[in-house]
Point group: C2
Chain length 230, copies 2
């Protein structure tokens, strides 16, 4: 049996949406990913076959539209109007998760690639300095290739590299992935991150500017129940 055998709108919506991975795929689509491998980057633990299958189900459900890319046999995945209207759902999920679930970040949920990809996507281009800056991130507790990143920003351009792009590094961050994740999520502020284990090396003015253009999660501002007025 697939459905719930109920005419209730909550049940009919849940048949489509309350499946494993589906809300995360929607989150990625709503965040603006359209290509298969871009979507994959947002859900790295999901297998290709399953992502393919889910996209197909969502297409059948009228949530996703698959557009062929001319020449190639690849596609682009876009939300239909019905899919766009799922933004409130993902927001409500995220707000609730931020308020009630993320008491502490579990070790299993840390993922340096996901974090850096989010950071890249969240850079506030409107607050960037004019000139190009290379920011090096050293995630001190991450061994191997995923422990060093170069973020190239400025001049309307944002790039994230796992290998040294060669330009001079303007600012160098050394921080544990936990602290950077907690800052990203809004659990601690910049000064608390500095107090924990964030170290900055570089010109004073750059150290000052970075929190203005380094974004945070869309849910960073959600008030927690144990907070001031909760």
């Amino acid at each position: 049996m697939k459905g719930y055998g109920q005419f209730c709108p909550v049940a009919k919506a849940s048949e489509i949406l309350a499946e494993r991975w589906t809300p995360l795929v929607l989150r990625e689509l709503l965040a603006g990913s359209h290509r298969f491998n871009d979507l994959r980057r947002g859900v790295p633990l999901m297998s290709r076959s399953l992502l393919s299958k889910r996209l197909r189900s969502l297409e059948d459900a009228g949530v996703v539209e698959r557009r062929a890319r001319p020449g190639l046999q690849a596609h682009e995945y876009h939300l239909t109007p019905a899919g766009e209207e799922l933004r409130p759902l993902v927001e409500v999920l995220g707000n609730w998760g931020q308020r009630w679930v993320l008491a502490d970040v579990e070790e299993d949920d840390l993922d340096p690639s996901l974090l850096m990809w989010d950071i890249r996507r969240g850079v506030r281009t409107e607050h960037l300095p004019e000139d190009r800056i290379v920011v090096r991130f050293d995630l001190r507790d991450v061994a191997g290739a995923h422990g060093r990143w170069w973020l190239v920003v400025g001049g309307g351009e944002i790039d994230l590299c796992l290998t040294d792009p060669g330009f001079e590094v303007g600012l160098h961050l050394r921080v544990s992935q936990r602290t950077l994740t907690r800052y990203w999520l809004g659990q601690i502020d910049w000064s608390q991150a500095l107090a924990d284990d964030l170290e900055l090396v570089g010109p004073r003015w750059l150290q000052r500017s970075i929190p203005t253009w380094l974004g945070r999660s869309a849910f960073a501002g959600v008030e927690r129940p144990s907070g001031p007025s909760g």
Copy 2:
């Protein structure tokens, strides 16, 4: 693997909420069911073991509180503050389902018990006549025991019976379960139901009053995309 391995609030919330049956269990709790078998009535196709298991998971997640009932070894299930804050989630799901999924009611989703139970719960007591009235429903296309119902309303009392309670029947409805379901869901109005296959037998004033106190789904008023301004 159980979780999604992501620190994202959407992912953490989905680990708890985007599981099979879970949104429907939440719907029932939000609708005010607290006892195991009351919950079951709202999700009749869910097995007891699974409902038990889900309630346990929700308890572990801090969404449900299980209270022992003194003397008995039974419990009452109540939403915690975190659980109460899931009301917007269920509303968003229902709104979206109403707008985009319920194009037509599928045969598999019809369920006379669920429908009559919903109707019972939705009776607008504040619009009821003073005196007790017995309304008999004949679901003409439902064979067997679930095709005849007696709704006893009035004087602050609402009862739903599958067997003749013995009182004099004040109003008699004959209608297909599809038409009654479509009215309940807001897909057709009362006059359209009468035009389809709804027949009423009883005093004129009672025929007039019934649509004022017979409620409809909480999502009946949600505008459909193909509607006037969509």
